[in-house]
């Protein structure tokens, strides 16, 4: 077979669709995807082989009686199965619906329930899974009327195939449905078209990562049912024929060392992970690993999907400096599924963009002001500027654009914006809309639900106005936690608030509950156990309050944000209640952080930003 030199293929312009992106590199034999299995055995697919495998898979999917536009639910835990099936479905004009596989240790009923809900909303006709998971997924089939069949991936290519040809797609075609992660009673499927995918992947590949043809090797353990793993590492690399090594997600979670070990073995140059993964990698690396690994080729490891802790990034850099890891490697990024994936990337290779600001002015008035030497400082990590042709704006409570250095809701506009939520017009209209009615500007902006500010064009994330709790990279709605606590004996129903606080490494879960007159002695423990049992989450702190002590609106609605603020300030429940993580500790942490960051980051900050005045 002839080998096509990737430099002979014109990759200087964006293609129209993801299928076009794969087609134009389908002659390349010496670059492609390497899939590790559970035993770490690599299987290499050149881009030419990947194209052929995807074509076969696409015709096999069509052979199951599916037609263009039909949704296909995918529950596949092996990267090789996932990538080929996903690309095959795209080639066939089908709409894949990537779904998370069941996690270990029981709770299969709860898993089946959430799978049913997603498949029902998507109206999928077929489930593709693997042999190991098929017995679990078969239980789902009779519960969803649209489902016609379940097929195990091992048999897929052996069955009846469509004679073809595969359809010709356009940029406006729906590529796939990205269900937003996290436990919620009504999951929403973000409609990702080829147009927004191409816009976002092209921006990531060029402006964001500056992918180098033929020299970059990307390594990813990220779950492929999630936008960061799927778009960042399955789709974006196609645009520049970048080599990628895929590690099964569970292999990483079971043995976090495998991440950097693979970076070392495969001479990786770039990767991505949520904050917790950096902490885990730092903690679990052995002295032997440190003596063996060569990480000098690494250009960037992006950090996104959960709040970024500057200390964790600095410790990561310190820990692996002896392996040749460059200090500018951790690269903060900001994105969400509704924006296809990424909204902004910090510059590659620059030191961590940390900004210190006056706590009083920020907490009290939402203003970004340079801290005095003896004032309490807060630190935030910058996530860079929006891509070309894209805009990030900060909105006040009336939905009007604020200037720089003011906190408000982050909004996003540009060609990467997705089409909205599948069959959910109400939810779509709520967050995809013009800034204000009647002024003639019809630009649709996404209300991200995140809080933040712009400083010298760079976006800083300061909180989540949707109250979303992000733990280990997964989103959790506070309601699901609060509901599971509300049923416990001794808790006043409807008077529970869950939120996260910054921990030493990553966000930690806090539950505050009002109790009945004579609460059981072990109520705190019972609350922690209930949350662990039902949601597999670890509670870092439980605070019990008397009746009426939780902050509420005049109409009696719980105020999560205010509860959290009071908790962090040590003011919860009025005087006399002092909680863990409250004033004393918080002050010390902030001061310590301010000191350690000033030493290391002032240099970087002065380069990236002028200090706020």
């Amino acid at each position: 077979m002839s080998t096509v030199d990737p430099s002979a293929v014109d990759l200087s312009r964006a293609p129209a669709t993801v299928v076009d992106a794969l087609r134009r590199i389908s002659g390349i034999e010496d670059h492609g995807y390497t899939f590790l299995d559970n035993a770490n055995k690599p299987t290499f697919f050149s881009y030419a082989a990947l194209w052929r495998a995807a074509e076969t898979r696409g015709l096999a999917l069509l052979g199951h009686g599916l037609t263009r536009g039909d949704r296909v639910a995918m529950v596949l835990s092996q990267p090789q199965d996932f990538v080929i099936t996903f690309l095959g479905a795209l080639l066939a004009g089908l709409v894949p619906v990537p779904m998370f596989p069941p996690l270990s240790f029981g709770k299969l009923d709860a898993y089946a329930d959430s799978a049913v809900t997603i498949i029902e909303v998507a109206g999928a006709k077929l489930i593709v899974t693997d042999k190991a998971l098929s017995s679990i997924l078969w239980q789902v089939v009779p519960r969803v009327p649209t489902l016609k069949d379940l097929v195990v991936v091992e048999n897929l290519d052996l069955g009846k195939k469509s004679p073809g040809p595969l359809p010709t797609l356009t940029a406006d075609d729906l590529a796939f449905l990205q269900f937003t992660s996290g436990s919620t009673s009504a999951p929403k499927g973000v409609m990702v078209t080829h147009k927004s995918l191409v816009a976002n992947c092209w921006a990531i590949a060029t402006e964001g990562m500056g992918l180098e043809l033929g020299s970059d090797v990307a390594v990813s353990w990220l779950p492929l049912y999630h936008d960061m793993g799927l778009i960042g590492f399955v789709i974006t690399p196609l645009f520049k024929a970048t080599d990628v090594v895929f590690i099964p997600t569970l292999s990483f979670v079971k043995r976090p060392n495998i991440w950097l070990q693979t970076m070392h073995e495969f001479k990786g140059t770039l990767s991505f992970g949520p904050n917790f993964a950096f902490a885990l990698a730092t903690k679990r690396a052995s002295e032997k690993d440190l003596a063996t690994w060569d990480l000098s080729r690494v250009r960037l490891i992006g950090c996104g999907a959960e709040p970024i802790n500057a200390n964790v990034m600095l410790e990561f850099v310190d820990r692996f400096a002896g392996c040749g890891l460059k200090p500018g490697v951790p690269m903060p990024a900001y994105g969400m599924a509704e924006a296809t994936l990424a909204m902004s990337f910090a510059p590659v290779g620059s030191e961590l963009p940390v900004l210190l600001l006056d706590a009083e002015a920020f907490r009290g008035e939402g203003r970004v002001v340079n801290p005095d030497d003896d004032a309490l400082a807060l630190s935030f990590v910058g996530c860079g500027k929006p891509f070309k042709d894209h805009r990030i704006g900060i909105l006040d409570t009336d939905g009007k654009l604020l200037g720089e250095d003011r906190e408000g809701e982050i909004a996003f506009a540009g060609p990467s914006l997705t089409e909205g939520y599948w069959k959910n017009e109400a939810a779509t209209n709520e967050v995809y809309r013009p800034l204000s009615e009647g002024d003639g500007d019809t630009t649709v902006w996404l209300r991200t639900g995140d809080l933040g500010f712009l400083h010298e064009g760079n976006v800083f994330i300061t909180g989540r106005s949707k109250d979303l709790i992000i733990l280990n990279g997964r989103n959790h709605h506070p309601q699901s936690i609060e509901w599971s606590v509300a049923e416990i004996d001794g808790v006043r129903k409807g008077n529970v608030v869950a939120f996260s606080r910054p921990g030493k490494e990553s966000e930690e879960l806090v539950v505050v509950a009002e109790t009945r007159a004579d609460p059981p002695a072990d109520l705190k423990e019972a609350i922690a156990l209930a949350v662990a049992d039902r949601l597999s989450l670890k509670v870092a702190d439980v605070v019990l309050l008397g009746a009426g002590q939780l902050p509420k609106t005049s109409s009696g609605k719980l105020q999560r944000r205010k509860t959290r603020e009071q908790y962090l300030a040590g003011e919860l429940g009025g005087e006399g209640v002092r909680t863990l993580g409250a004033t004393g500790e918080k002050l010390t942490v902030a001061r310590h952080l301010a000191r350690s960051l000033f030493g290391r980051a002032t240099h970087a900050a002065s380069k990236v930003f002028n200090r706020p005045s």
Partner: protein
């Protein structure tokens, strides 16, 4: 030590390796205790499984893992996989 006790000791070592804050709870673990009741988060739980796999030099399949609820189930699985 009986094989079951050995397996339980191994599980406790695995828990300690991934989350030192659980040390005080180890003594109260019984075979019928549900693993989730220990309050490990999902990442620590899988790290614990990884620890066991490495010590036993085996791979537990996803399909087997999802059907395990109690420490007794896990002990039985370890016993089955011990050479």
């Amino acid at each position: 030590m009986s094989p079951n006790m050995e397996a339980m000791e191994l599980i406790k070592a695995a828990i300690t390796a991934v989350d030192t804050s659980k040390a005080s709870k180890l003594a109260s673990i019984k075979p019928e205790t549900e693993i989730r009741d220990l309050g490990l988060d999902s990442v620590a739980t899988m790290e614990m499984v990884g620890y066991l796999e490495e010590k036993l030099d085996v791979q537990f399949s996803d399909e087997v893992m999802v059907r395990i609820n109690t420490f007794g189930d896990l002990v039985a699985l370890i016993e089955k996989n011990r050479i």
